[in-house]
């Protein structure tokens, strides 16, 4: 190709070597994507196909047998799975709603930059950087009945303590409390970023018009935070499905399955019961949820990309 362009002067004004470069780059694009694609295929696409296939099959004395939806029937007949599913729903609502409200409140209160606000933001953000597993080993003592931190200080206030992670009626809510503490600071950051994007005039005009704090929050601030809210909601829901480290240390899904969550159930089936069929069927259930979540967030990303251009 370069020979041709040397032999014949290009008719257009651009230097002739740009054209072959562009053609080469076209093929090169796939070469550039290849390293990432190798790992995406091996650890994202292929596993999805594999899990779908395994959910429809069962290992029977060394043979793999097609069993149709039997694995799904089996997990839905398994009270542990049903508990995990219901728990996960409760856990989702009970962590996400308070976390978002708290995060929003923190962000609105701490939006002005000053060193005090900076310090408060950092204190609230700190748990985000701590491994969930380390948090859990701290909360092991905080939740300890009788001599634990929570009971100790409740007793000082004259309040009765509880068996925070040992009582099936409240264990899940103790886990919820820990999760809110751990994640609210993370969500706060996105609201802080969203608040910065609000033009100062918007609030000033409302103030001149005599709007109260509540009215300004309701009609000026919140509409501007729509995008941040949508994003934080997606991230928070993703966390609800993919983080179970605290379950592992604090409760192991107990007492009486009251804190079992979907991913922990998958782990138990795969690692403790070696039941790949059930583990895969349960994984498919969580994938359905994750795919729904991605559809929503991709649409949102597309919209914001369009808004940019």
């Amino acid at each position: 190709m370069s020979q041709i362009s040397i032999a014949r002067p290009a008719p257009i004004a651009f230097p002739s070597r740009f054209k072959p470069l562009a053609v080469n780059l076209n093929l090169r694009a796939y070469f550039l994507l290849a390293p990432s694609l190798v790992f995406l295929v091996a650890f994202t696409y292929w596993p999805v196909l594999q899990v779908l296939w395994q959910a429809l099959h069962q290992q029977d004395s060394g043979h793999t047998v097609f069993v149709g939806l039997a694995n799904f029937t089996a997990i839905f007949a398994d009270s542990a799975f049903r508990n995990a599913l219901v728990n996960n729903l409760i856990y989702a609502v009970a962590t996400v709603v308070p976390s978002l409200i708290l995060a929003l409140g923190f962000a609105i209160t701490l939006q002005q930059s000053s060193w005090v606000n900076g310090l408060l933001r950092s204190l609230i953000f700190a748990p985000v950087l701590v491994p969930l597993i380390a948090v859990s080993s701290l909360f092991l003592f905080i939740f300890l009945p009788g001599i634990g931190l929570l009971d100790h200080y409740l007793a000082m206030l004259g309040l009765a303590g509880a068996n925070w992670v040992g009582d099936p009626d409240i264990a899940l809510y103790s886990i919820v409390g820990l999760t809110i503490w751990k994640n609210a600071g993370y969500y706060m950051l996105f609201f802080l970023a969203g608040l910065q994007a609000i033009p100062a005039e918007a609030g000033e005009i409302a103030m001149i018009e005599g709007a109260s704090h509540w009215q300004r929050l309701r009609y000026v601030t919140l509409p501007y935070l729509h995008n941040s809210l949508a994003f934080v909601l997606v991230i928070a829901l993703l966390n609800v499905v993919t983080q179970v480290d605290h379950i592992f240390v604090l409760t192991k899904g107990g007492p009486s399955e009251s804190t079992n969550l979907l991913l922990f159930y998958v782990y138990q089936q795969a690692v403790e019961h070696y039941d790949i069929g059930k583990a895969s069927a349960a994984t498919v259930v969580s994938l359905v949820f994750l795919l729904g979540l991605s559809a929503v967030s991709l649409r949102r990303m597309e919209q914001s990309a369009e808004a940019q251009t």
């Binding site: 230097p15 780059l25 694009a29 550039l32 390293p35 990432s36 694609l37 091996a42 650890f43 994202t44 696409y45 596993p47 594999q50 899990v51 395994q54 409140g105 609105i108 209160t109 900076g118 408060l120 950092s122 204190l123 609230i124 700190a126 748990p127 950087l129 701590v130 491994p131 969930l132 597993i133 380390a134 859990s136 080993s137 909360f139 003592f141 001599i147 634990g148 931190l149 200080y153 503490w181 600071g185 950051l189 970023a193 103030m207 109260s212 704090h213 994003f231 993703l238 993919t242 179970v244 592992f248 240390v249 998958v266 795969a270 690692v271 790949i276 994984t283 994938l287 991605s294 967030s297």
Partner: protein, 281 residues
Amino acid sequence: MSRRRFDLDDLWPRFGRVAVIAAAVLWTVPFIWMIVSAFRPSDQGAAAMASLIPDYRPTLDNFREAWADANFPLYYLNTTIMVAGILAVQIVTMSLAAYAFARVKFPGRTVFFYLFLAQLMLVPIALLVPNLATVARLGLYDTLLGVMAPYFATAFGTFLMRQAFRTIPTELEEAAVLDGARWWHLIRYIYLPLSKPALIAFAIVSVSAHWNEFLWPLMVINSPDNRPLTVGLAMFTMGAEGAQAWGVNAAGTFLVIAPLLICFALFQRRFINSFVTSGLK
């Protein structure tokens, strides 16, 4: 101006402020307890363990015991190898892909881009059963490489770098091409250096995420010598239960979380900005 409503309306922000300060204090209680207990002498008895007041002569005994009970130096080493290895490979894979998405027009670009983005939600941990099988089949079971491999490609990093690459003027690239630069020169000497803020943001998010990861390494790693910090800590915590062990447990936890918290204290603004950037705007 709004004097007539002063009594009620102006009270709300103040109330909010007091509530947030109270929350921030409450938020730090677990850390305060950890620090106070980690330095508490063990002869104070179980009843004193819940106290948040350091009414004692600080001792390093708990740290000594934690250090002796679990091989923390080795766990530190393993975690460091893990996060550094993941980050190094990620930088290569994501900058190549990001360059393709940002600057090369090719058939199927949109489709490939969406294929990449799927990984944002289909996170490797959600696919732990098939991924464990793949890692085992590749002969990577019980190796740090096996823990790292699923993270070598990163949709988030690719997306972030693509955004950064797009802001770089094409004139720079064209001038370099005229001077005889090849595509890898362009990425190495133009695109990456000019995308440093995005690169640092990604590095902070990636390192914190993998430093903190637990369930996946727990499944891949079998021998104690290959444990990262999180797995080491969990085994240590579960082995150390018992009335006298709380101080040692606090000291062990302290050892695990100190590096990231110290980095955060030193580079707060950078950390916070990085995490905001992870919001894929």
